[in-house]
């Protein structure tokens, strides 16, 4: 192993320990790594960070086995592509992507949105609450489906700021 590989590996191991990952496999062609840690409660965060740490390896080639599912989505969930903004729900309720059933959705992937623009609605206690974008940018992906129950802080959209 090259000196840089060893340095990377040390950093990787520290990272995995911090997030309590149970098992880790990497096949990068020139490098194969298999790590197994003592069983412990794992968090569901950090997949994308792992991929970044390894460098040019595509995210699909790195597997991190999570030993125990947690009941809530991680607030720190990081998108596979760096620099994307997560729009999270400020309230609990039911998400709707369009102003009324059958109407066109507020936004679609690729649309540019301005800060403050309404990009969805969350129904709570029979009231429709408009969800405004908190940044300007391009809608990359809608993470929830129409009529899906969502909780406080649940990621709704990824937005590329700009």
């Amino acid at each position: 192993m090259k000196a840089q590989d060893i340095a990377d590996l040390k950093q990787l191991i520290e990272f995995l320990k911090e997030y309590k990952v149970a098992e880790f496999d990497l096949d990068r062609g020139d490098l194969k790594i298999r790590l197994k840690f003592n069983p412990t409660e794992a968090s569901s965060a950090g997949l994308a960070d792992l991929a970044r740490l390894i460098g040019s390896a595509p995210p699909a080639a790195a597997h991190a086995a999570i030993s125990q599912p947690t009941p809530a989505p991680a607030l720190q969930a990081v998108d596979p592509e760096a620099g994307l903004h997560l729009l999270k729900s400020p309230i609990v309720g039911t998400f709707y992507g369009s102003p009324s059933p059958g109407a066109a959705p507020f936004v679609a992937p690729g649309d540019h949105v301005a800060k403050g623009q309404v990009i969805g609605v969350v129904e709570a206690m029979k009231l429709m609450n408009e969800i405004e974008s908190d940044v300007s940018g391009e809608i990359v992906k809608c993470l929830v489906s129409n009529g899906q129950p969502i909780e406080f802080g649940q990621p709704l959209f990824t937005i590329r700021q700009g």
Binding site: A72, V92, M125, E151
Partner: protein, 449 residues
């Protein structure tokens, strides 16, 4: 039977309610703030919904968030626990309007008991002994002075919308009254949004005695006897025990019968606790009613064998008391509870942080209700109660011996707890002899320093 219940609370009481639901085959939904993501109540519920950021006002006290969670989880009922929204009549009304069963009394009854001066009048009407005092709100300093002359100093001014020891001032002399009136009113305004006050005779060294009541939805009411909660610091209970050494069988029977009659009259439903002061002559006086399950309910469970939370769930499901309770309710043995708080045992400063070691005691007649575990966090946003240690013995002496043994084996590291304080209290000869009143802690702490 209820099918699915949302628990609008956190910590040990949320877990307590979840446990009772599980044992009855009821599905559970937990709600939590971001600070409680790794809590046991979240982990052990069937479903969990994040409802807000750490601050209680934005999460656990956020009525739209709680109701919205109840709707998306499609629950039958909400159990509010204690504190938080449990005595919020508006919340109970919103539940009713949203077609969700609120596990507790009807909103009108909660509202009645929440207005302390009205509660006094209702009790007076039902011949429950009350302290001499004003007939309702005392609007001005002049009125207060008139009433104080009638009642006789010392008097206490109390917030009409209050509780928990706030918005209260003791007045011992005529000259002090104007300033204290304004102080109490301002504190009440800030704490409860309502600065109105009423007045009661102040009893110098009272004992705090409370009666546990249960009422079904068919007009049946029963008393599950009393608890004594005189060991308090700044109106916060530290140790509770059942039965009280000072309540005679005759008093127990008479008060129990009077309260059953009173609660039937006002249409009470579900669990509730009626609080009294006992003066030096052993006379009981009503002070307030809590329309919810209380922290110290386990000591009543120990001496009666009745699971209080299951009783609440069954009552809310429409069951009659005769189907829920044993045919004959009796007091068996003696039970004591210590409230273990995350605070410095001498300075009483709150101690939030990560618990590194958590070993709870066990054994015959020893129960620990807690939502903490090794490596868990105690967040700084909520009250400091982290565990309840309850013992049950054949008599008070055995209960004390069990508590001393259990406290010595309760190991918590990483944060400060009140365990050393509790151990010191149990070594105190006055406490051991049952010689105490609500001034006990003040004197005990003064002696230590």
């Amino acid at each position: 039977m209820l099918r699915k219940v949302l628990i609008a609370n956190r910590g040990e009481i949320a877990l307590r309610v979840i446990n009772a639901c599980k044992e009855l085959g009821i599905r559970t939904v937990a709600v939590y703030s971001e600070a409680d993501r790794d809590s046991l109540h979240v982990r052990f519920a069937d479903e969990a919904i994040c409802i807000g950021p750490p601050r209680a006002a934005d999460s656990y006290l956020n009525v739209p968030a709680v109701i919205s969670a109840a709707e998306i989880a499609d629950v039958d009922a909400i159990h509010p626990g204690y504190g938080l929204l449990s005595e919020n009549a508006n919340f109970a009304e919103v539940c009713r309007a949203s077609n969700i069963k609120f596990i507790g009394p009807p909103p009108e009854v909660t509202r009645l008991m929440g207005e302390k001066d009205k509660a006094r009048q209702a009790m007076k009407h039902a011949r429950v002994p009350i302290l001499p005092g004003s007939d309702g709100v005392v609007a001005t300093v002049e009125e207060a002075q008139d009433w104080a002359k009638k009642v006789g100093y010392p008097v206490i001014l109390k917030a009409k919308a209050g509780g928990g020891g706030r918005g209260m001032r003791i007045v011992r002399a005529h000259e002090e009254l104007p300033n204290l009136f304004h102080a109490a009113s301002t504190e009440a305004e800030n704490a409860f949004g309502n600065g109105e006050l009423y007045m009661e005779k102040f009893v110098e060294n009272p004992r705090h005695i409370e009666f546990q009541m249960l009422a079904d939805e068919h007009g049946n009411v029963v008393s599950l006897f009393e608890r004594e909660c005189s060991i308090q610091r700044r109106h916060q209970k530290l140790i509770e025990e059942a039965p009280s050494l000072k309540v005679t069988p005759r008093m127990r029977e008479e008060i129990g019968r009077t309260l059953c009659h009173c609660l039937k009259e006002i249409g009470y439903q579900n669990a509730g606790t009626v609080e009294f002061l006992m003066d030096e002559d052993g006379q009981l006086y009503f002070i307030e009613m809590n329309t919810r399950i209380q922290v110290e309910h386990p000591i009543t469970e120990a001496i009666t064998g009745v699971d209080m939370v299951k009783a609440q769930l069954l009552i809310a499901s429409g069951e009659r008391l005769e189907a829920i309770l044993p045919a004959k309710l009796e007091i068996r043995g003696h039970s004591i509870e210590c409230r273990i708080n995350a605070e410095h045992p001498q300075k009483f400063t709150p101690s939030a942080g990560k618990i590194t070691v958590f070993h709870v005691p066990g054994g015959n007649g020893v129960r620990v209700d807690t939502a903490q575990y090794a490596e868990s966090m105690v967040p700084p946003y909520y009250d400091s109660l982290i565990a309840k240690l309850i013992v049950h013995g054949r008599d008070r002496a055995e209960a004390i011996a069990k508590m001393e043994r259990a406290l010595s084996q309760f190991i918590v590291q990483g944060i400060e707890t009140s365990i050393p304080l509790h151990r010191a209290i149990f070594a105190d000869p006055g406490f051991r002899a049952g010689i105490f009143d609500t001034k006990f802690m003040e004197n005990f702490l003064a002696e230590k320093n």
